[in-house]
Symmetry: D2
Subunit: 291 residues, 4 copies
């Protein structure tokens, strides 16, 4: 099978490689000249692919994805298929699909999990779109997914792939926060002599056994107290979108919110909240609070 | 009526003054020689009071209170009454009362709200103890409370005064946090041109009209964006005890917890949580997070 | 001054009355024939007003407001001014303003607080829009607001009025939740003999003194344990929008979220969350959980 | 090696069996006559063991454990060792150890994870106590733990085993809550056609891959929407103790709190909170809320 891959960064590049290893032909394009790209521009990419084409878009969400989809809309033909594998918000997918459908171009969204390990372990894929488009691209999905029965799902209609990935990442925020809270509590307690050893022991037989725990233990092997790691964490949108989608659906998400809010506060998001609290305390109690 | 007041700091000193203005006699003692104390030690205080005595203890919770109560236990006689007005945990009160009861000394606990304004506005008092002890000290409570029908309550048995005050402060944490969240959101929004003006406008006719809002507006008069206030806030135990007591009783307290946790994080309490989150992100996604 | 008021329900009707009491002429319209309306349809309303007109729209958000604005767009003329006082999301206001501006019609949004008490106490108003439009409608705002210096603010550009009101209500959710948590904790504690009395006592001299507390005490006068009140609470959007807006701005809002999430859970929003927890517990621990 | 096992319920019985399979001699006692016990009372158990004895206590926390330890204190001799494997709070362990040390009896606490699967997979063990006691009982720990390098840790001094287990379970609460929130959000979304399939797909290659996910998928095999599971969840203390211990140490634990509070609310813990919210809404807005 033949595939065009747009975006050859850490994710796209490894994915192209994994697809090739499965015996498919991948024509790669990236805006960067030293990306190892096969063609120098989108026109050349489209020209190299036999119709009906399948093009996988793996570029940053927002303007890069929007621009790429817009250009593909003019370059591709009826019957071609675009798979958007970037981290878009699910609400963008319907708009994209409707716009491309006017020219007869099919659109699917695909949430991709697995990070830098995916090249080796395979990528967990969550796909949104029509059943026939899903079947058509199935060989590519099969090439990317891990071995075994899991790791690939047709989650729902257009938008469903990114929705599932968004929720997946929301859960991930909650799990990471929970591990962090446990670690922090043990680090400060006189009852625990070596937090890293305790957490490593949980990798067998315990209820919290998980890949995230494996990764944490891996990080603690070189830096048991994690003092080399800065006490801040960035957020990348998915937890924010999850709590918004959940609230619209009437579902409370306090654990996912806890993960998001802790990260926001670490970047100064709670500073003005605290100024209010401390200003009030100064007013009613004469408390003088020092920075 | 005659009263011994132990502890003549910001709270105790103003309270003694207010009681005197109501026509009672107050003999004051403080460990500090330049506190304006009437006597130089506890023995002298007890000697100056006519039996049966009433002694109000207004010293910091923990060791200062414990030591004072312990000494009073040996100096006072059966029939005397101790009122503990410090910020003790309610669980300490029963222990104190039982210990003193062995010598026939009565014990009441009194939660005091009002801060630096109490001298002028009067103090909100929440009292725990027996009905006869409450009646006996009522003239003192009447002197301290604000004018009008509110501001004084016999909350329950020994411990009830501090329990009510603890919950009161827990609520206060939640309210302050809510105001802070609203302020912080408006400060960052392009839709709001002057947050201080918006909040000041709420002092009439709005549902959030409150003394805390009055105090916040007062603080914003000189410093509208509160940039002179450090983005940190200390906690003093009551919210922590409230969420613990509530959890034991099966009551979830997410808003009070939000207030407490935001303050703890501002003092570095979430640093290790964030290190775990960022270490995991580095492992699975190759994300490099900068401080 | 002359004003058209569209929507004569609990809010609009009382507001029209208050404006009239201030000496202005109000022509009222409502879809309901028994609302006491002055005219039977929007065309008649517009015909009765002298150009340049001011029309206040006080109808439910969503379709009713959208339909009304759409019709007014065709009926009104350049130079007329619409004030949208309903509970719209601030993001809708810019769209409305842009659409009407094409026909030269001015648009302002006005958040209104005060509920059923506003008729008597006056309404707290938060206004978004241009300075000249604000000045033009100022006599109406002055008629509606409470006496004194507070209760009215020009919060910012179009959308700012609803943004300020949204945040106001978000804060309100957090405050109500905090009071609820305190009440619930005291109700279950053996240390408190009468929760209603304790909370009533806080109305003087305490830090949590507030209009919400006044209202709660009022509700408890007839029903001290609130057992006549169902243990559920509805949400009406503002807290949801606040936490979304705050998250977009990078501000964590755990206390406001606590208020929202508790209400969502009371309407079954956490049921599936709990099913997952209990299903997992059954799997790993053999725990059998009964409904 | 020889061991006395007190408590032959679901946990203790399976553990005794696993220890025997490793070649050790286990004398079992339980209060229930049809438990398959080897002896009829504690005196007989002690008589059957050769000094210096090792006795593992695996009975419910609270009074059953306290009573058992108290009796063992009189029956055992200097040099004997008690291992408390029940779900005690870590703060009880020091008290127990001190009390038994007066008679020369050693005490260790051991947190045990693994539930009904432990018999087959092995139990994750977290041990608190002195190094020499740990070495002495090591063959028993080795028999119980899973194969491989993990699953057993000497966490710290007396109390450390239960502290580590408590934190472990706290993390577990947070993780379960996060999965629940994700499931609930997808169940209500039109974007997801089959939540169970989506979550099953995450078992390979995804960041949330974990034993808890395996168990959830197992539960969904027979009941994909979990509608047979009641929408309530019980709590068993550990998360409550974790958030208390963390707060004392200055660590905020919003995700673990989220798990606990959601469970408490499902058992009616938020009912009075909601009554307050709804009573206030009725007062200021005239809102009538139906159950």
């Amino acid at each position: 099978m033949q595939l065009g891959m747009i975006g050859l960064g850490r994710m796209g590049g490894n994915m192209a490689e994994r697809i090739r290893r499965a015996g498919h032909e991948v024509i790669g394009y990236d805006v960067s000249a030293d990306s190892g790209r096969d063609v120098d521009n989108l026109e050349a990419l489209v020209a190299r692919l036999n119709a009906p084409r399948i093009v996988w878009v793996m570029v940053p969400s927002g303007k890069p994805t929007d621009d790429t989809l817009s250009q593909l809309g003019t370059l591709l033909e009826a019957g071609d298929l675009i798979i958007n594998g970037g981290n878009c918000r699910y609400t963008d997918d319907r708009r994209n699909a409707d716009s491309l459908a006017a020219d007869g171009i099919q659109y699917m969204d695909c949430g991709v999990s697995g990070g830098v390990w995916g090249s080796e372990r395979g990528y967990a894929l969550m796909v949104g779109g029509d059943a026939d488009a899903y079947q058509r691209a199935l060989p590519i999905f099969e090439a990317l997914k891990p071995e075994g029965e899991n790791g690939l799902v047709h989650a729902g209609p257009v938008g469903g792939g990114h929705f599932a990935k968004m929720v997946h990442n929301g859960i991930e925020y909650g799990m990471m926060q929970a591990f962090g809270e446990g670690f922090a509590t043990m680090e400060r307690s006189e009852y625990i002599q070596n937090t890293a050893e305790v957490m490593a022991s949980w990798r067998s037989g315990s209820v919290v056994d998980s890949w995230l725990l494996d990764l944490l233990v891996r990080a603690m092997n070189d830096d048991p107290d994690l003092k080399q790691v800065p006490p801040v964490a960035d957020e990348t949108g998915e937890a924010k979108w999850t709590i918004e989608a959940a609230a619209e659906l009437g579902v409370p998400t306090p654990a996912i919110s806890a993960g998001l809010y802790t990260r926001l506060a670490s970047r100064g998001g709670a500073d003005d909240v605290l100024r209010v609290v401390t200003a009030m305390r100064g007013q009613f109690g004469g408390h003088v609070t020092k920075a």
